[in-house]
Symmetry: C2
Subunit: 347 residues, 2 copies
């Protein structure tokens, strides 16, 4: 078991990797806890939940709306949760995003923590204090930055994930490896079998490495004004691909990484060997999906990117395995590159 | 013109009292501003708004819902507002509460400032960084703490307020006087005529005094864990009265203050002279409305008070004009006192 502390100056957040999730009771107050989870997680693990009121949501991205937020708040009011309450999210990214957002606006903010059940939420959603919901097609445009008091990442829980969800989480892990941890790239290259078998101990190691890198970046830059931007690797192209194709998040990011790797090479930042190595890794794990999105749609959606500033985007490239570099690139150039890339691919 | 700076450690917020609101353009970025206002304010002042996109809401407390928040966010997305945008709320408490809340969750937080058009929002809603919306009958249970960059309080704007709204604001001003500014109590006692005529210069003085007191309390305690609780004078009883009777906020608080003054006397904290002086002030301005609410309903609604902790409430009493004192009082005692008070009043 490993405990990683995230210190953003304002707040401390502890991420526990590898312990059994049932130990969460030790981190909770004796009373006033309310659990937020989804139907799937409840079916699998509800029997072991500590004895507190449970608010259930429907599984899936479709629940990430203001109207679900309103419903959860109505239930909290019905339960009589006051300012001293503690919201415990038990679930994947959607549950944690909702629980974290609700906790940051209910009664102007109450305490909260997570048991992260999916790989994606263990390595991504639970670290960094971002939460939020979607507005129509626009993902995560409503939310706050607020650190949970703790996140418990029990890698035994990964065994019950649907294959797709597991793979989507792996894609995010590969993202972190490619931008920040060359040793993790090597581990991933050499341990394909054990990783795909969801070996609990190996995953404890890889999850902890991933979180540590992300934590180091977040601690430096909680509000995403600078250094943290590297975490958006694969996201500029990935978000539009996700919106149009309705993939799970990690796959869309993988498609976006593939494009970013090619663009890094195109711009003379990444040499041919490293380009091939990076692409091979994505290929080995089979995380890049087939997708369709026209240049025009790509342009429209990149223009709506939260990270857009004026007509440019802070785009994340890599100049080596584990070495990101951020460049302000015009939307025109990004769309042009995308269209050419798609044309070449088809011919 | 007077500028009051609120420094909470985390953020600086400047409140400008007495200048002309049109000068707001000097405080705005050159581009990316979006104005949020209501139909009434737009009808009166829209012609002088700076040339930026305007999002209008329906006037009144009924607009303080998550669904209005969703609609405003949809419009921001349509306008293409990015992270560098600036939200300018021009209006009373409802507009400022909504604009502040939207600004704190849109794209996980963007810049914002207010032109406060109502007396209530000048002396109350705009200072302190609280924002929020209601959930059904529960007021302000959804929101955040975040300071606007500036609040402009132009007392000439008070001349266009409906009488009721002006009086509701006066009630909040009297609240501040009673808990924190004995000199303001004297000013209010001696200048009834000028205050009711909304004399611009006198109101500059009284508004600035009120804000200064509130600012000093907020600066000490941005997140309402201690000292700031004094601002809840009149609110414990006032909120239930407001919910059931649908009064404007200030009147409900005045009814709550009346009860709190009597309770302060009952508990031997306030002497008879000061009790009579405090009650006379409320009477002079005619701010305490007729209201109906059963002891049972009062109990139910106090039990839902955001500030409840367990079976008690941190209740604000006064022991002298301008001297608040906070006591943890059980809900049972509060309901008992209320019921006896109502019985005595009727006989």
């Amino acid at each position: 078991m490993e405990k990683i502390i995230i210190d953003t100056g304002d707040s401390l957040s502890g991420i526990v990797v590898g312990g059994r999730w049932q130990a969460v009771v030790k981190m909770l107050p004796e009373s006033g806890v309310v659990i937020i989870t989804d139907d799937n997680v409840y079916d699998k693990y509800g029997i072991d939940f500590p004895a507190f009121p449970v608010i259930k949501i429907r599984p899936g991205e479709g629940s990430k709306t203001l109207s679900t937020v309103g419903r959860i708040i109505d239930e909290l009011l019905k339960i009589g949760a006051d300012r001293s309450c503690f919201i415990l999210g038990i679930g994947g990214g959607v549950v944690c995003d909702l629980a974290g957002f609700v906790a940051s606006i209910y009664l102007r903010g109450v305490r909260f923590g997570f048991v992260s059940t999916s790989l994606l939420s263990q390595v991504d959603a639970s670290v960094g204090g971002k939460n939020g919901v979607d507005a129509g097609l626009y993902k995560n445009v409503i939310g706050t930055f607020r650190q949970p008091e703790f996140v418990i990442c029990d890698t035994t829980m990964l065994s019950t994930l649907p294959a797709n969800e597991y793979l989507s989480g792996l894609a995010e892990m590969l993202k972190i490896a490619l931008i920040g941890d060359a040793a993790l790239v090597e581990i991933a290259e050499k341990n394909y079998g054990a990783i795909m078998e969801r070996d609990r101990h190996l995953m404890m190691d890889t999850v902890a490495r991933t979180i540590k890198y992300k934590a180091s970046v977040v601690a430096e830059d909680e509000r995403e004004s600078g250094a943290r931007r590297v975490l958006n690797f694969g996201h500029t192209y990935g978000h539009p691909i996700e919106m149009v194709n309705q993939f799970q998040h990690g796959f869309a990011v993988a498609a976006g990484m593939e494009l970013a790797i090619h663009l890094s090479f195109e711009k003379g930042l990444l040499d041919n060997n490293n380009k091939r190595r990076a692409l091979k890794l994505l290929d080995q794990y089979g995380v890049v999906p087939d997708y369709e999105i026209s240049g025009k749609k790509m342009e429209e959606l990149i223009s709506r990117d939260k990270k857009r500033s004026g007509n440019s985007v802070h785009f994340v490239l890599i100049r080596d395995i584990g070495e990101p570099i951020i460049e302000k690139i015009s939307i025109d150039e990004l769309v042009g590159f995308y269209s050419t890339f798609q044309k070449n691919r088809k011919t």
